[in-house]
Symmetry: C2
Subunit: 197 residues, 2 copies
Amino acid sequence: MYEGAIQDLIDALGRLPGIGPKSAQRIAFHILQSDSEIAANLVEAVRTVKERVKFCTQCGNVSEETECRICRDPRRDGTKICVVEESKDVIAIERTREFRGKYHVLGGAISPIDGIGPDQLRIRELMQRLADSTITEIILATDPNLEGEATATYLARLIKPMGINVSRLASGLPVGGDLEYADEVTLGRAFEGRTNL
Amino acid sequence: MYEGAIQDLIDALGRLPGIGPKSAQRIAFHILQSDSEIAANLVEAVRTVKERVKFCTQCGNVSEETECRICRDPRRDGTKICVVEESKDVIAIERTREFRGKYHVLGGAISPIDGIGPDQLRIRELMQRLADSTITEIILATDPNLEGEATATYLARLIKPMGINVSRLASGLPVGGDLEYADEVTLGRAFEGRTNL
């Protein structure tokens, strides 16, 4: 244990996700020993995020305005909504340049074990957006795991009866991967979803 | 890429040691989404460290006072100095409860490739402490790697002619380890340093 302030910083850093005691110590000493500028930048960045970054009132994505960049963009196709768990997923999909519609960020996935049911997610807000009949297609891009699949199934059941086209991202072998290292569930999905050539 | 503030925070976090782009993103969203208290704690801890934590004028260890807790402690044996590279090493040795003398923190090890020579380390300060004839034993506890060994050899050559007892921490098999997994250098050292039973 260190004296006072340095231990407090190690503790504060150690509470962040993915930072263990050794990394927290290493980062604390780095902050202590490097220019004041590095510490000042970090302090400023944390404060600005807490002050300025909000969530888009439309889609729930992070944004510094009432509506996010994508929701404000008139060139985006307003008839398609891609539903994701987190803002990070929006960035990942944007990088593919495959999708030019809009998004809806749920803020997580249904997970009874963590006490997260449909009411804890932004599903009511999604339903309100769907009430507007301009939306004709929903792409469910929740994670390909238990919680993500459950959430997709739940949403599909809710949305399909509204006459809206609902699809799910394909599961299969990762591109550049090695067939022999694929787990059996992924390989099974790849068979199921095989496409004709 | 995110908009403004959140990307700035990801960048600031990504500049810390051991935090890659994915962890930086994860931590930034954690800070954004959790209570303001977590962000406030972190901001406060970083600022306090930069404001309050200094280095002990005697030994170079981190301290909030002019002299650190160990240098101020009259029960510590002032005739022995254990020389280490970093403040973290002081904590590691204190945990063993084997040593009741004082410390000297060099602030690194001699590493020509990184442009660190004896002048960049707190070696002059160590020599000044040794001018006081109360010190009779120096234990060199630099890291058991190339730079640490070079530093220990350099210091031994400097200090031995002063008639001070100079020793180096033993190298050998780690306790609880497995002989067959020890690297050949470590195993060689364990042979060299074998003790009679």
